[in-house]
């Protein structure tokens, strides 16, 4: 008989992991929602966030400063990506395709620049902020995981507030709905695109720096969260922030539970299969906002 306590424990762990996953996935869905572009460099932004956080830590000696450092650096990197690469491809006939190639190329470039630099020579890490394990009844919680979850929730809450209550958020929603009409109403869509890219990248960068104490930082660290974010975004519904959040928690739980009983490769295969099944049964995902 399957140990119920063990499963429950894994469900809790999965929820904690899902919060961190949401941080990566929401950025991906945000860019798609506003610009209709799939950013293949999203995993690279995660990786760059890890390194920016590491460098900030090395320079200041304060692990808490690593987070704002990562957010700032990767926010700028995201804006530059939009300005230097995506903007030039957006108005082409085959913009979707061209953007995939362009951002994919960028991801490969960033990864290999880091790999070639002294930074990439060894695995880097950041010190844990909240060490220890908390015991609650029969369950155990790694304190760092809970802390990461809380930070992720705060960041996502901030993002929601921006989207919902600020002029910037209103402009983002307007551009997402209808670029031309938004333009006619005086929204400077080019600027909105760049800022959206920056915000999305910053979320991935934050995740990269947050997860560094647990997963280490190395040049190809971004691909795994990127692929996971893919699954989440598809299941949650491309472009739907709320659906993505729910899907992230679901996938987090599914992954944790599956990891208890199978190998990591089998778990990944299961998750990819789940995504494909969802795509066939309900291509719009949980959130159901995409229009192709």
């Amino acid at each position: 008989m399957v140990d119920l306590l063990l499963v429950l424990q894994q469900i809790f762990n999965g929820i904690l992991f899902g919060g961190q996953l949401a941080l990566v996935a929401v950025g991906l869905t945000l860019i798609w929602g506003v610009t209709r572009i799939l950013n293949f460099a999203h995993g690279a932004m995660f990786m760059m966030g890890g390194y920016a956080g590491f460098l900030t830590f090395e320079l200041t000696g304060n692990a808490l400063l690593a987070l704002p450092g990562a957010v700032l650096v990767v926010f700028v990197l995201g804006m530059v990506t939009e300005f230097g690469v995506v903007r030039r491809l957006r108005d082409r006939d085959n913009a979707e395709f061209a953007a995939i190639i362009g951002t994919f190329g960028l991801a490969v470039v960033l990864e290999n620049i880091i790999r070639g630099s002294p930074l990439g020579s060894t695995r880097r890490t950041l010190p844990t902020i909240v060490p220890g394990v908390w015991e609650v009844g029969p369950f155990f919680f790694v304190a760092e995981q809970v802390y990461l979850f809380v930070v992720a929730l705060v960041a996502l809450g901030l993002l929601f507030a921006i989207i919902k209550y600020t002029r910037l958020g209103m402009a983002m929603r307007a551009v997402a709905q209808d670029q031309n009409t938004a333009k006619l109403m005086g929204v400077r869509s080019d600027r909105i695109y760049a800022i959206t890219f920056g915000i999305s990248a910053a979320l991935a960068g934050l995740a990269g720096a947050l997860l560094a104490p647990i997963f280490n930082i190395y040049p190809s660290v971004g691909w795994q969260p990127f692929l996971l974010a893919f699954i989440v975004v598809i299941i949650g519904g491309l472009g739907s922030v709320r659906g993505t959040l729910i899907a992230a928690l679901l996938i987090g739980v599914l992954r944790s539970v599956s990891l208890t009983f199978t190998s990591s490769q089998q778990t990944s295969m299961l998750l990819f299969l789940a995504m494909i099944v969802i795509l066939i049964v309900k291509p719009t995902g949980i959130g159901g906002v995409i229009d192709g």
Binding site: R88, I101, G105, N112, F230, S268, P283
Partner: protein, 343 residues
């Protein structure tokens, strides 16, 4: 001009264009290239011959991706994985079941083609970014499966030490690859100048329009994907016999990056582009060997710069694309208008 007339005109113009390509200056250059390739074993050293073999095999793999991505507009990330599947199927059927290598190659192609079916049947209902995502996921599944199912694939160690083709005679193997790749290129070319190829391009430019003209676009995409994947599988089988070792890295994203870079640098959607791209990239890579260790960095940079500044690649002459585009714009505009009205 009616829609049907417009399509007919497109068909006849494109056919003339492609025939000109074949018998015109490009044909002569191609013939010259063939002569050079035939003479290669007499003038090249062992190492140079293996680079030439590599070029030939990649030409097959890249041209088959170009068939999907360049002509149908099906942007598949599964190609390297299927190339790997072909390699595994070939080696396993030859080494484990004692099937003659020549037959094993055909089996490799067939298995890769069959593997493409569970991908395409759901995925071809999607397009653009969705297709890219799903095919990337499938590539990951296949890659993980190869690592996981050790009983069949030997896991991460892969296969090595299997018997080479033609008793290890490299020159015979070279001619065999040359002839096989040449024949398969001709087959692809014939396919692309046929009605099938024209419908492929119609699907790329405006799938709805192609469908409304009475073409079963889903079936065409399915067949196209099968053929492209099978050819990738054959290329994988040849590569297995070229390097005499296969392991999971053959199916990795890096391999896919390489194929994509070659195809896009050469010129996506042009037949000569697939060939020129491989020669250029492998040539540059071999020249850079030892000079720069960061070959992936160069590929990534090239991918970005080419898509930013030379979206048509080496072979893509703008005039040819413009002519095609004008013709297709004719009827896509028609449908674009009705769509706007419906809103």
């Amino acid at each position: 001009m009616s829609l049907a007339e417009s399509l007919r005109l497109t068909v006849s113009r494109t056919q003339t264009r492609l025939k000109e390509d074949l018998v015109g200056p490009k044909g002569i250059i191609a013939a010259f290239g063939i002569l050079l390739a035939l003479a290669a074993p007499f003038v090249l050293r062992e190492f140079q011959l293996s680079v030439t073999l590599q070029i030939l095999i990649f030409i097959l793999a890249v041209s088959s991706w170009n068939l999907l991505a360049g002509y149908f507009g099906m942007f598949s990330f599964t190609h390297a994985a299927l190339y790997g599947v072909g390699a595994y199927a070939t080696v396993i059927s030859a080494a484990e079941f004692g099937i003659p290598p020549l037959v094993a190659l055909a089996i490799g192609g067939l298995v890769a083609g069959l593997f493409s079916l569970p991908i395409t049947i759901p995925a071809l209902r999607l397009s653009g970014s969705y297709l890219a995502m799903v095919t990337l996921a499938f590539a990951e599944i296949i890659h993980l499966a190869v690592i996981t199912f050790r009983d069949v694939t030997n896991g991460p160690t892969g296969y090595t030490g299997f018997a080479p083709m033609f008793g290890g005679d490299r020159v015979t193997f070279y001619y065999f690859v040359l002839v096989l790749v040449f024949v398969l290129l001709i087959v692809q070319y014939a396919l692309l100048v046929s009605r099938f190829g024209l419908i492929a391009r119609a699907i790329r430019e405006a799938e709805d329009a192609a469908q409304m003209l009475g073409n079963d676009t889903y079936r065409h995409k399915l067949v196209g994907f099968f053929i492209g994947s099978a050819l990738a599988g054959v290329a994988g089988g040849l590569q297995a016999y070229n390097i005499l070792i296969i392991s999971p890295p053959m199916l990795e994203l890096n391999q896919m990056i390489q194929f994509m870079a070659m195809s896009i640098i050469g010129g996506l959607g042009t037949f000569s582009g697939a060939i020129l791209g491989v020669i250029a990239v492998v040539g540059v890579a071999e020249l850079l060997r030892g000079v720069i260790e960061q070959r992936l960095l160069i590929w990534g940079l090239l991918l970005m710069l080419i898509i930013l500044f030379f979206p048509d690649g080496i072979a893509g002459s703008t005039t040819q694309r413009d002519i095609l585009k004008q013709q297709f714009d004719g009827f896509t505009d028609l449908f674009g208008d009705t769509k706007e009205r419906d809103k």
